[in-house]
Amino acid sequence: MDLMKSMAVSASGLKAQSARMRVISENIANAQSVAVSAGADPYRRKIITFANELDKATGANTVTVKSVDEDSSAFNKRYDPGHPAANSAGYVVMPNVNSLIEMMDMRQAQRSYEANLNTIESAKQMMMRTVSLLQNQ
């Protein structure tokens, strides 16, 4: 039945979006995770990518997490000569996490999650209506 498939597809969407939320919260939590010594790399921002996958059992286009990669952009720098991880010029290398970008990403994940939930709700109501046809007949 297509409505069951529809719910399975939406569930895969929910799973993918919650994985995305996990990665975003990792990034935000580690926004200040600097290296312990000079020359070492601090935390590198992670990026999640989704892929469209055909579920062979149901024949539906579900979504899966393709990969969680590292953001290759340059690290930020902060002047803090007293820090144990400061280099000879007095700069500490900070993670390349921009909290504004993470916030925006989080909002988008939240919106997509809600959209998937709504689709499940709608499919459920359609199903309930079909079942109710059997009642009082």
Partner: protein
């Protein structure tokens, strides 16, 4: 009498199947709203004139003279999946617009309710005629 043989019942079944499948396609679009390169899809609207032509007026159709020929005359319940036109794409090449999809989901749900109500109404009319 078999009520499923009535033209109205057949039409209702056909419509419900179409709405069922559309719901699945829309769920696919929404689930893939953040997948790079994903193209939003939708079902083709059933063509009223074509349905009418199939039942009343005999339109010119392809003849099937060999079992190897593909029969285009049988109008299957499943409408072809068509790519959506005139849509905006994100920088990643994704063409799903969540708002549009949500409207379509609501539309599908409402149409489904309507069709189900029609079905129930029709059955109750038949029952009235039977005196039950």
């Amino acid at each position: 009498m078999d009520p499923s043989g009535l033209p109205l019942m057949q039409m209702i079944t056909h419509r419900m199947e179409w709405l069922n499948q559309r719901q699945k396609v829309l769920a696919e679009n929404i689930a893939n709203a953040n997948t790079p390169g994903y193209q939003a899809i939708d079902l083709e609207e059933p063509d009223f004139a074509a349905v009418l032509g199939r039942s009343r007026l005999k339109a010119v159709t392809l003849a099937v003279t060999n079992s190897g020929h593909i029969d285009f005359n049988t109008g299957g319940a499943n409408a072809a999946v068509a790519k959506e036109r005139d849509v905006e794409a994100t920088p990643t090449g994704n063409t799903v617009v969540l708002e549009e999809q949500m409207i379509k989901v609501a539309e599908t749900q409402m149409d489904y309710q309507l069709t189900a109500n029609l079905y129930a109404k029709h059955i109750s009319m038949l029952k009235k005629a039977l005196g039950r």
